[in-house]
Amino acid sequence: MSNMFFSYFPGKSLIHELDPRTKLLALFLFSILVFASQTLEQFLFVFICFLFIAFISKTKPRVYWYSLKPLLVFFLLIFIMQLLFTDGNEIISFINTSITYEGLYLGLTVISRFVFLILFATVLTSTTRPSMITNGIERILRPLPLKYLGISSHELATMMSLSIRFIPELFENAKEIKDAQVSRGMDPSRSFLKSISSISIPLVSNSLNYVEELVIAMENRCFQGQERTNLYELKMDKSDWISLLILCSLLISYLYFT
């Protein structure tokens, strides 16, 4: 309950009402938009798009913060790596390495892309029930000839949705292990690297145990990965088609003019 990373928040908004397939495709289109962006103006345009989507989804700002907060350390590490290991025009040098304009630019670009991807994904997860995300993925994948690969679209969708559902669980577990260590006198701010190594071993062990229990529980309830009907069948409304049309036009114009 305490971990709100990629969680669903019930509410009433246009985004909440949209079909999960529309939202999944929109996320895909926004991802193209984010990866196509390189300059400050382009990122500003992506930011305006995000603000508009966030406004109509009526999701509270704190929800986005809950999604970004656990990843700040990774963002920082990625930024430092780009900053230190990119060749180019030197800004400052020390010991055997130097910070370059290119490194700074690349670091900021990569971080901005990650941040926007997380923000757009948060709009999807905060406005769509996990079961609806599974249904949406399953319906999108259904026309693909997956049976020749030995898997069904339902199996693939279950795997994807379980992965999304596991992320908050993983963070919660890591927090519990960290709490146990802090309560036994460890100061994570002083021994950062030591704390990462001592968290990762039990985290992997606990996750594997959890996965094994989950598999047994699913098999006990006769999960066979076959396609099945749903209580609430998905239906694309007029608003879904209009939303997709606007987004596609936006993306095509953006790619054409930039």
Binding site: S2, F9, R62, A180, R184, G185, N209
Partner: protein, 276 residues
């Protein structure tokens, strides 16, 4: 005053549509050397209260003071030992020995002292020394619980806080753990224990704090709690009440098998004497 909780309020998922206030204006104190039981239904806020007292969470309003310092303050470090609900998430080292030694090493003790503390703590909880070099992940649930408790006790904390420590233990495991806690308490350690099961605490606890919907419904002695209307009375107390209802004039406010046995025995003796 060792542990003081004053006007504490706490909510999860603040600022979202899932905001949930779990603790509302909680005020109480725990005296030094006391054994306090925190009872309440699932979702009453017991585990959240534990995390606030240990300093892992910060209250939205109010204060939690340990020996006059804010919970989580550096000066409090090492004085509180906490056993969480899921011991398997509290174990993280490669061997059981390293896991027990983790706390004392962080507190800056010398290696020889740490070794002694590991041996003493594992002996107190009855953790077999032959298992000290094995991986904690290979232990059974009961052994993991013992190991987690040993890891906490090795720090020799002034305050020991336990979140449902007997859950998942068999009868012998429970009995052993409770007698160990009695022993630790008799040496002067202040103990706060969260539990659902009142019966197992009655012979140990001095104070009872009963949480209901995030507020304190009751705070007082064990004897007062048994007479408290909304408490779930232990089965023995129920049994004695039933005997009373059926005309046997025995003391109802008993809560252990031994006490009930003595009471019934003396009642039978008395009736037999009257007949003779």
């Amino acid at each position: 005053m060792p542990i003081v909780v004053r006007d504490v309020t706490y909510s999860y998922s603040k600022g979202t549509s899932l905001e949930n206030q779990v603790l509302n204006n909680l005020t109480f104190k725990v005296d030094e050397g006391k054994f306090t039981a925190i009872l309440g239904d699932t979702g009453a806020g017991k585990s959240t209260l534990l995390r606030l007292v240990v300093g892992l969470l910060k209250p939205d309003n109010g204060t939690v003071l340990i020996d006059g310092f804010d919970a989580g303050h550096r000066s409090v470090k090492g004085t509180i030992g906490v056993l969480f609900q899921n011991p398997e998430k509290q174990l993280f080292s490669k061997t059981c020995y390293e896991d027990i030694a983790f706390g004392p090493l962080n507190l800056g003790f010398e290696k020889e002292d740490v070794h002694q503390k590991v041996l003493t703590a594992s002996a107190i909880v009855g953790f077999e020394q032959k298992n000290l070099e094995t991986s904690p992940f290979k232990l059974s649930g009961g052994e993991k619980k013992k190991l987690a408790l040993a890891g906490v006790l090795a720090m020799e904390p002034k305050y020991l806080i336990l979140d449902e420590p007997t859950t998942g233990l068999d009868y012998c495991g429970k009995k052993g753990l409770l007698s160990n806690l009695g022993l630790i308490h008799s040496k002067g350690t202040t103990i706060i224990m969260i539990t659902h099961q009142l019966t197992e605490l009655l012979s140990l606890a001095q104070d009872v704090l009963y949480l209901k919907d995030g507020t304190i419904d009751f705070h007082g002695s064990v004897q007062e709690f048994i007479e408290f209307p909304s408490s779930n009375k232990p089965p023995i107390t129920h049994f004695m009440s039933k005997l009373n209802e059926h005309g046997l004039q025995v003391n109802q406010n008993l809560y252990t098998v031994n006490e009930a046995f003595s009471e019934i025995k003396s009642y039978v003796h008395k009736r037999m004497k009257d007949h003779v």
